[in-house]
């Protein structure tokens, strides 16, 4: 049954990812991205990575995309209205990045990397992989983990400082 489920979720993932970039309306695009994240989470579940799958839904689909949606609605972006030089430039960069990705994909398939046997497959721990992920994060990868948290903290403080600096000239603000 697993191969059929994988095929189904992979199809949903690919189609919704395509619709994310092809759809005209920003809100609908965002919703297709949420669907793509959910399909990806289902694929994680089938690989035995339950923790990763659930965190994928909580963090990406539940938190980040809600903020995206919030911003899209706040700016009331109805259509893609930009045109001219900037638009052409962005389109060029998009083609360049897409071309690099396509070249990578061709190389990977040419080396028969994708359909090979699952060589390195660590057996999941008895208590599920939540403990495995936690142990790895807090022992072997403690330093990168802490550095990442520091970077996020710095970004957060920076955003607040930047926001305060701009609104400072408008006089006193209530709380």
């Amino acid at each position: 049954m697993i191969p059929y489920l994988f095929a189904g979720f992979a199809a949903v993932l690919v189609v919704s990812a395509l619709l994310t970039i092809l759809h005209k309306s920003p809100v609908t695009s965002a919703m297709f991205l949420v669907l793509a994240f959910c399909a990806l989470a289902a694929i994680y579940l089938m690989l035995g990575a339950e923790f990763l799958g659930m965190v994928q839904v909580i963090v990406y689909a539940g938190a980040i995309m809600v903020l995206f949606l919030f911003v899209i609605m706040y700016l009331n972006l109805q259509h893609d209205i930009e045109a001219g030089m900037q638009h052409a430039l962005r389109r060029g960069i998009g083609w360049l990045a897409g071309g690099v990705l396509a070249a990578e994909a061709v190389m990977l398939f040419a080396r028969r990397w994708a359909p090979g046997p699952a060589a390195v497959m660590s057996t999941p721990a008895a208590a599920g992989n939540t403990q495995t992920v936690g142990l790895a994060l807090y022992t072997r990868y403690l330093f990168p983990f802490e550095i990442t948290s520091m970077i996020l903290l710095v970004a957060m403080v920076g955003v607040i400082v930047a926001g305060k600096a701009r609104s400072g000239g408008e006089g006193e603000r209530r709380s």
């Binding site: 049954m1 309306s25 809100v27 609908t28 919703m31 949420v34 989470a41 339950e50 923790f51 799958g53 659930m54 965190v55 839904v57 909580i58 689909a61 539940g62 938190a63 809600v66 903020l67 949606l69 919030f70 609605m73 706040y74 208590a127 599920g128 939540t130 709380s175």
Partner: protein, 341 residues
């Protein structure tokens, strides 16, 4: 037929579908009678009688209500985004029903036991934001949009405190599986002749209070019902909804309340653990505790006034979040100290 029946995949799918049907229909029945209970209790709290015309004590009122909703005209506002307008009410109901699948209601009465059950609940409650936000946006109505945006901000803010409040329980259990969390709450201490159950509400009282407060905010119930504050926003995000689509939002709200109360019972009130009853009847304990919490939800709704928006944000970020964080630190220190002794 026999060959199909002996296929383990088919059996798995068959029994899963049966379980889903039982839980789904049970849920719908409980929701319709919870609406009845809410109207009845509200009536008695305000010295009225509540619905009492349809059937004995008004017991058939929910059926009449739903039948009426089905026959109402369905209205779609001009300029609405029709597809999203149709999807939003569905999204209101589905997450609540999905997270009910991991709640163990009795020793052998549960949808499924996965080792990330609690994370599934948190994931589904975070997806619940979409229905209200999208409903508000797709209606092409200022009040609905304001209600939707308010709800997005409110649910993101309170989700954090809710997630953090469950971590105390996780620390004590060492597992994310709902079945393990219930098993960890079996038995009781004895202080003299008085037995105190091993429920986490006694070892994690702060977490329980934070969880219940955030539960009100996550389900958009009073005193946190700002997304549909009728005095300022007409009816908030569901202003433009009519007929059974409005009914689905109603169903979604009550389904969310039931789900979140079930999770609270599982995490803090010992799930189906309880004295006296034999093993097959233990699920009655679960439903008794669930009923008590549901009554509590209705009671609070008719007791407290609505918060102002800035009070809501202030309370969520500057009170609940630090308290939940402090609870995690205190629990960890306590466990470390206990282990060292």
């Amino acid at each position: 037929m026999a060959a199909l029946w002996s296929n383990p995949d088919f059996q798995f799918v068959f029994w899963t579908v049966v379980k889903i049907m039982v839980i789904l229909n049970g849920m719908l029945g409980v929701v319709s009678y919870m609406i009845y209970a809410e109207r009845k209790i509200a009536g008695h709290m305000q010295a009225r009688t509540g619905p009492n015309r349809v059937g004995p004590f008004g017991l058939l009122q929910p059926i009449a209500d739903v039948a009426k909703l089905f026959f109402k005209e369905e209205f779609i506002p001009a300029g609405a985004n029709v597809v999203i307008f149709h999807i939003a009410p569905i999204l209101a109901v589905v997450p609540a029903l999905v997270s009910l699948s991991v709640v163990p209601m009795g020793p052998s009465f549960l949808g499924t036991d996965i080792n990330v059950g609690l994370l599934l609940f948190l994931a589904m409650s975070s997806l619940g934001v979409y229905s209200i936000t999208l409903a508000g946006w797709s209606s092409n109505n200022k009040y609905a949009l304001l209600g939707g945006l308010r709800s997005a901000a409110q649910m993101i803010s309170y989700e954090l405190a809710m997630g953090l409040s469950t971590i105390g329980v996780l620390l004590l259990t060492g597992s994310l599986s709902m079945v393990d969390i219930v098993a960890a709450q079996a038995g009781a201490y004895h202080i003299g002749p008085i037995p105190i159950p091993h429920w986490f509400v006694f070892s994690q009282p702060v977490a329980f209070v934070v969880f219940m407060i955030t539960a009100f905010a996550e389900t958009n119930r009073a005193p946190f019902d700002l997304p549909e504050a009728e005095a300022e926003l007409v009816a908030g995000f569901h202003t433009e909804y009519s007929s059974m689509k409005f009914g689905l939002f109603f169903l979604g709200e009550f389904a969310n309340v039931i789900t979140i109360c079930s999770i609270a019972v599982t995490l803090f009130l010992g799930g189906w653990n309880g004295p006296w009853l034999p093993e097959p009847l233990k699920f009655l304990w679960f439903f008794a505790k669930l009923g008590a919490l549901l009554f509590f939800f209705i009671w609070v709704r008719w007791t407290y006034p609505r918060l102002r928006y800035d009070q809501l944000m202030h309370f969520g970020w500057k009170v609940l979040l630090p308290v939940a964080l402090a609870n995690i630190v205190a629990t960890s220190v306590g466990m470390f100290w206990y282990a060292q002794r």
